[in-house]
Symmetry: C2
Subunit: 176 residues, 2 copies
């Protein structure tokens, strides 16, 4: 039990409102898609474990075997304690950057192509996020207020990535 952010992601979502595993999956695939992706197996598994340890509980049962979960007092304590008392794991892996390290085995022309594609990809993602920003109806609930901060991070990140990739492309271009 070293880290387990997934556990806290589920707790965090349930802190906003009760939800079933199905509901949570939709949130993971939309709001949290670019922050903490998770699969069904993980979510349902985690719900079972969390319920077993009393951090959440079944608050209602609906049709089709639907189970609504609600966070408990202990769960909320655990979530707050995670936010305040523990340091985030900042281990980052970037396959894109890993490839940059090894661009030397390609020809300069091939490297320039790689970085151009990367710049275009970042630009595309940036545009996509801007579209999302304009489209989303930002409410006043927790997830909206702070979710917007997260979206802004995405906007700034993709903008930075595009600038960097363009710059890097030019740097490599000068080698030819």
């Amino acid at each position: 039990m070293v880290r387990m952010s997934l556990r806290h992601a589920v707790l965090g979502l349930l802190a906003d409102r009760t939800a079933s595993g199905y509901d949570l999956m939709k949130l993971f695939d939309t709001s949290l898609a670019n922050v903490w992706p998770a699969t069904q197996s993980q979510v349902y598994g985690e719900l079972g474990k969390l319920a077993g340890s009393g951090l959440i509980e079944v608050s209602a049962e609906g049709p089709r075997g639907r189970k609504d979960y609600a966070i408990t007092k202990r769960g909320l304590d655990e979530l707050r304690s995670w936010l305040i008392d523990t340091e985030p794991d900042r281990t980052r892996r970037s396959e894109t950057l890993l490839r940059v390290f090894f661009l030397g085995v390609l020809t300069p022309v091939e490297s320039v192509t790689y970085l151009s594609v990367e710049a275009a990809r970042a630009a595309g993602e940036h545009a996509e996020l801007e579209r999302l920003d304009a489209q989303v109806d930002w409410g006043d609930d927790h997830l909206s207020v702070y979710g917007r901060l997260a979206l802004e991070y995405g906007l700034r990140l993709t903008a930075m990535q595009e600038e960097w990739a363009s710059w890097a492309r030019d740097q490599v271009g000068e080698l030819t």
Copy 2:
């Protein structure tokens, strides 16, 4: 065998020069620390598998059981093919951002503190990278040329993170 970037990280390092597992670990702990961290167990395990499949080979044996590995023709082909023909996995997880999503369970003051710490952390990392940049003797080999591009990415990323965290802190501050 879906992704396995670690395999290609090892191949990429060996494309620059021959190395033992011990040598590779030093590279993983320095050059690649912020790009693709790996543990001993992973590296030695991967070396065994790569040698077994003929992508690398033992080029020399030294004292203390040291084995120097060199990339083979097939290994280089595999590396090039990975760089050119396959799309990087861009799945990103950010525990820091995940926490931002759930800042709503804290008081605004606690949230401001969290974001302030985050800004300071980014600033500190940025300064550290600048120090590294000035200190490193950038040579002409592959890892240096392209490693420098990666470092520049880190500089821009940490600068962006500091600006974002400061901005977000002010945003939340306005709620009080």
